[in-house]
């Protein structure tokens, strides 16, 4: 797994010397079984597969605090994105359902319209995640503030965008 990550990201897990600074500053570490320094350690030990059996890598917000503070330029945030990319390619993610639904709905919106249509994102997310009722009562207030656009606008170059998706992702990969 460490080799696969190095090929994908150019980062050698072996260069991490386990100072723990990344996990010390991580805003999500308290909710993770494997914080950033443990993720690096599992890769060093050749036990990276373990990361695909757990939701930790999906809880990373990519705030880049770990990357900014790493004294040896290990870039844990990039490593975690690489792990997610591999998991998605294998159609095997242990992402919490809602996080996965949000990501897929978001990309579907871009593929469909070229831009994110936020109202459509929320509806699609609710269907995909089954999280039907949270925040429903806040829709009128958001509408009153003029913050909800009710119909999507498709960009002219939508075929560009779809070509980009097709070139970058294997078929059906993101959904």
């Amino acid at each position: 797994m460490a080799d696969e990550i190095q090929e994908l990201t150019g980062i050698a897990a072996a260069s991490c010397y386990q100072c723990g600074k990344c996990s010390a500053g991580c805003p999500m570490v308290g909710e993770m079984d494997f914080g950033p320094h443990k993720i690096m350690r599992l890769l060093q030990l050749g036990r990276g597969e373990k990361l695909f059996e757990d939701e930790s890598i999906w809880l990373c917000l990519t705030c880049e605090t770990c990357t900014a503070r790493c004294p040896n330029q290990c870039d844990p945030a990039r490593v975690i994105d690489g792990l997610r990319e591999i998991a998605i390619r294998r159609f095997d993610t242990k992402a919490p359902k809602r996080i996965s639904a949000f990501r897929r709905s978001f990309l579907d919106q871009i593929r469909r319209n070229g831009r994110l249509f936020e109202f459509g994102l929320v509806l699609d997310y609710k269907l995909k995640s089954g999280d039907l009722f949270s925040d429903v009562t806040s829709a009128p207030a958001m509408f009153l503030r003029g913050k909800l656009a009710l119909s999507p606008r498709r960009i002219k170059g939508i075929r560009d965008v779809r070509r980009i998706f097709d070139a970058c992702l294997e078929s059906g990969e993101e959904s």
Partner: protein, 310 residues
């Protein structure tokens, strides 16, 4: 100064107030904003969590359009858009092979990756002297917490316009308006970003720590430059306040909104009526200072924001 304007998806909907306030202050400051035609979404977190190539190709299309439309620089007010555009530019600059691959995917052989990407905070910091001259209503005695979050200054090799652990640029803008930035700890902590819908409890936990720290430092108002941070700290402030004895009650303003008030613009033209946490205390403070300056003249007050259904 003519800039390619990249509002991004949020500024057309949930962050309309950011768009309105930025357009409103651009005029007085002599910034000529021309929206890039037919821009697409930057892909945001969803794209880079899924596939790196996708996360670079999507913003690269917008950079290519900007070049074709004759812009030297793209201005992206949203911190997330800014970060994705700047990351794509940086990645292609570092890796010529990647750039060629992207050019092939985009089918835009003339793309040179020369267009610069600028954040609104960088732009305004560099105009601090002009802002100082144009301020008609100095925001004296206003204590402001400048909140950077993640995407404006990290990672440093991509953003580069300020220190990634101890930035100063937003404080310089705030000082130019006459207000006083407070020093506080959590100004670079993450608000929970894209987890607002999908993991709300984390967003509430992170937001509460940020707001309480700003309060402790004596801030009366928080300024920021990111639609996601605004959503998580303004819209979600009700949830953040739930288990407290009293609501946090911290107005969250886009830095362009605060600047607009100092430039004497009407609160409504800055989109301040679209907020959840009422910015009325801030507006009243500005109005009171105006009255004492003008000798009793009443400035137009902002109508109260619509009440949120429980």
């Amino acid at each position: 100064m003519r800039l390619g304007y990249y509002p991004g998806c949020s500024l057309h909907a949930t962050a309309r107030d950011f768009d309105e306030s930025f357009r409103a202050v651009a005029g007085p400051l002599g910034i000529d904003l021309v929206e890039i035609e037919d821009w697409a979404c930057c892909g945001a977190t969803a794209a880079h969590n899924t596939n790196r190539l996708l996360s670079i190709a999507l913003p690269a299309r917008t950079l290519a359009l900007a070049q074709e439309q004759g812009f030297d620089a793209v201005l992206a007010p949203c911190a997330a858009c800014y970060n994705r555009l700047a990351t794509a530019r940086h990645a292609m600059e570092q890796d010529p092979e990647l750039k060629e691959q992207i050019v092939g995917i985009l089918k835009r052989p003339a793309f040179t990756n020369q267009v610069r990407v600028i954040s609104v905070v960088e732009l305004l910091r560099d105009m601090a002297a002009t802002i100082k001259e144009k301020v008609v209503q100095p925001l004296a005695d206003m204590k402001v917490a400048c909140y950077y979050g993640c995407l404006l200054v990290r990672p440093h090799e991509v953003t580069g316009f300020d220190d990634d652990e101890d930035p100063r640029s937003m404080e310089e803008v705030v000082k130019a308006t006459g207000a006083s930035p407070v020093m506080w700890e959590k100004r670079l902590e993450c608000c929970g970003g894209g987890f607002s819908l999908s993991r709300t409890a984390s967003v509430v936990r992170l937001g509460r720590a940020i707001l309480e720290d700003a309060r402790k430092a004596g801030a009366q108002v928080m300024v920021l430059a990111c639609p996601m941070c605004h959503n998580n700290l303004d819209f979600r402030q009700k949830a953040i306040s739930k288990y407290r004895e009293e609501p946090v009650g911290m107005p969250i303003l886009y830095v362009t909104e605060l600047l607009g008030l100092a430039l004497g613009l009407a609160p409504r033209d800055l989109g301040l009526h679209r907020h959840y946490v009422s910015p009325q205390p801030v507006i009243e403070q500005v109005a009171a200072a105006t009255r004492s300056l003008a000798g009793g003249e009443q400035p137009a007050a902002l109508p109260a924001p619509p009440r949120e259904e429980a």
